[in-house]
Amino acid sequence: MPNRIIQWIDQRFPLTSFVKHELTDYPTPRNLSYWWNFGFLAGVVLVLQVVTGIFLAMHYRADISLSFDSIQHIMREVNYGWLLRYMHAIGASAFFFVIFVHMARTLYYGSYRAPRELLWWTGQGLLLLLMATAFMGYLLPWGQMSYWGATVITNLFQATPFFGDQIVIWLRGDYTVGDATLTRFFALHYLFPFIIIGAVVIHLVALHTVKSSNPSGIDLAAKDNIPFHPYFTIKDLYGLGWFLIVYSVFVFFMPDSLIEPANNIPANPMQTPNHIVPEWYFLPFYAILRSVPNLVGGVVAMGLSVMMFAFMPFLDRSRIPGGAHYRPIYRVQFFLFLIDMLVLGYVGYTPPTSQTLFIGQIATLCYFGSFFLIPLVSRIEERWLVKRGLPPAVIELMESEALAIEEHRLKHRRRGDQP
């Protein structure tokens, strides 16, 4: 009977072939390490956030006179409200953690390189959407940090030429962050996750066109692929187990660890807390904003710092495959970049003094420097590596890649296609 139902469906909708193509038999490089789990984990966290968010919205009130108390109501009176809220709050941090690891993996293994540029750029778009969603969600508890965070960030739009002030007022719907701001942030915070889901579908379509990269950087397309199911379903589920353990430790044993204490004070438009800090996942970018002693310059630098990742396919000129795996200088650069991110995070967390300001400025220069040096470094490194002698397997691969590009070109010429 079930077979007949599936048959009936398959005649009208490509159910079996879709599942086979995109899930069970989907060809996956057999050498993927656990670093390749984080895309799947990001998907799981997205589902967690949407589900907990929808149930929280059933009890939350988007009104400046009610919102702070409605959070207390959720925490104290709603059945398991505390659990939903802590899952959602910790989930936001988990989302950024997972995404940062996912991005670091892409950078380390050079997965952004051809033909995966569009995959990387759709991911960049997803990062921006995620940041916007997290930012708007943070206003909803209407605590001091919520209020002043939203004030500072909406103020950034003052840097817009000509219409700066009008744009800020338009974004807020008031002269200051107020009721109008809270209601629209709630509406958009509810909407954005569904836009993210749409963008994830595009991200996955791109992935399934170019297929996963792998730690060796060698294109295994036809040779060494294995079906996604059961090999990677089980690997992803195993990773999920570990993720859920860490997530649960946070949710059940240290739920307040990532919530700023000042956010337990209701928003007060007449008094800024002495030390305002963004959530940890925005700290490096916030440090860059503060390091530039000029409003417009700071805003541009911060915007650029998030967007720099998108330029990676253009900046990296090396033809050595395998990302940092076969590239010692790039590898050193990668880890220095991570350390720089941590320094920036620390600077973003501390109150501004002339000393931290100075460290922040140096770290900001290093941040942009590490991107702008890549074209030069990657070329010098390639020349040095070739002179030193590459492993035969790598040489073979580079030649076959060059050949493939040449063949592709010839094919198009024979067809008479216009480039």
């Binding site: 338009w170 719907g173 007449m270 300001l357």
Partner: protein
């Protein structure tokens, strides 16, 4: 028939383009109310003026009042503060003190840091903004960045010796 169609090509193209333009204009016009709905509503606009009684602010004292939801600092300056403010001309955004006050003993400024919109704290002479470390003197002029401009002087006028209305010059 064929000839007719060929002859109508221009007309057809013209109509196509015209339809696209009119349709596009319609879509753009439809966006206007949606965008406008996000601007401050009339009840928000209505709280544009605030009246303040100054009688119980002693010399050296500061009162913070809300105007358009923003904090406004009203400082009853002491003769020393007036002297110090008049002596300097500001650092980053030079402006004489006389241009920033109507009566030298009363300083009225919007208490919103011109950098990122935080509320500066009264500390020592002037104010310090704890968000990003900007400093202002007793005339509300910025003495240390990153703030680019002096604290804004709102439009206000004295309706009596000891009463001002903020929101209208």
């Amino acid at each position: 028939m064929g000839n007719e169609l060929a002859g109508d090509g221009d007309r057809r193209n013209f109509l196509l383009k015209l339809t696209a333009v009119v349709g596009g204009a319609g879509v753009a016009a439809t966006c206007v109310p949606f965008v406008a709905s996000m601007n401050p509503s009339t009840d928000v606009l209505a709280k544009a003026e605030t009246e303040v009684d100054l009688t119980d602010i002693t010399p050296g004292g500061v009162r913070t009042v809300a105007w358009q939801g923003k904090p406004v600092f009203i400082v009853h300056r002491t003769p020393e503060e007036i002297q110090a403010s008049a002596a300097s001309n500001g650092v980053i955004d030079p402006e004489p003190d006389s241009k920033r006050v109507q009566k030298p003993e009363w300083l009225v400024v919007v208490g919103v840091c011109t950098h990122m919109g935080c509320v500066p704290n009264k500390e020592g002479p002037g104010w310090t903004c704890h968000c990003h470390g900007s400093q202002y003197d007793d005339s509300g002029r910025v003495t240390r960045g990153p703030a680019p401009k002096n604290l804004e002087v709102p439009p206000y006028h004295f309706v009596a010796d000891n009463k001002i209305v903020i929101g209208k010059a």
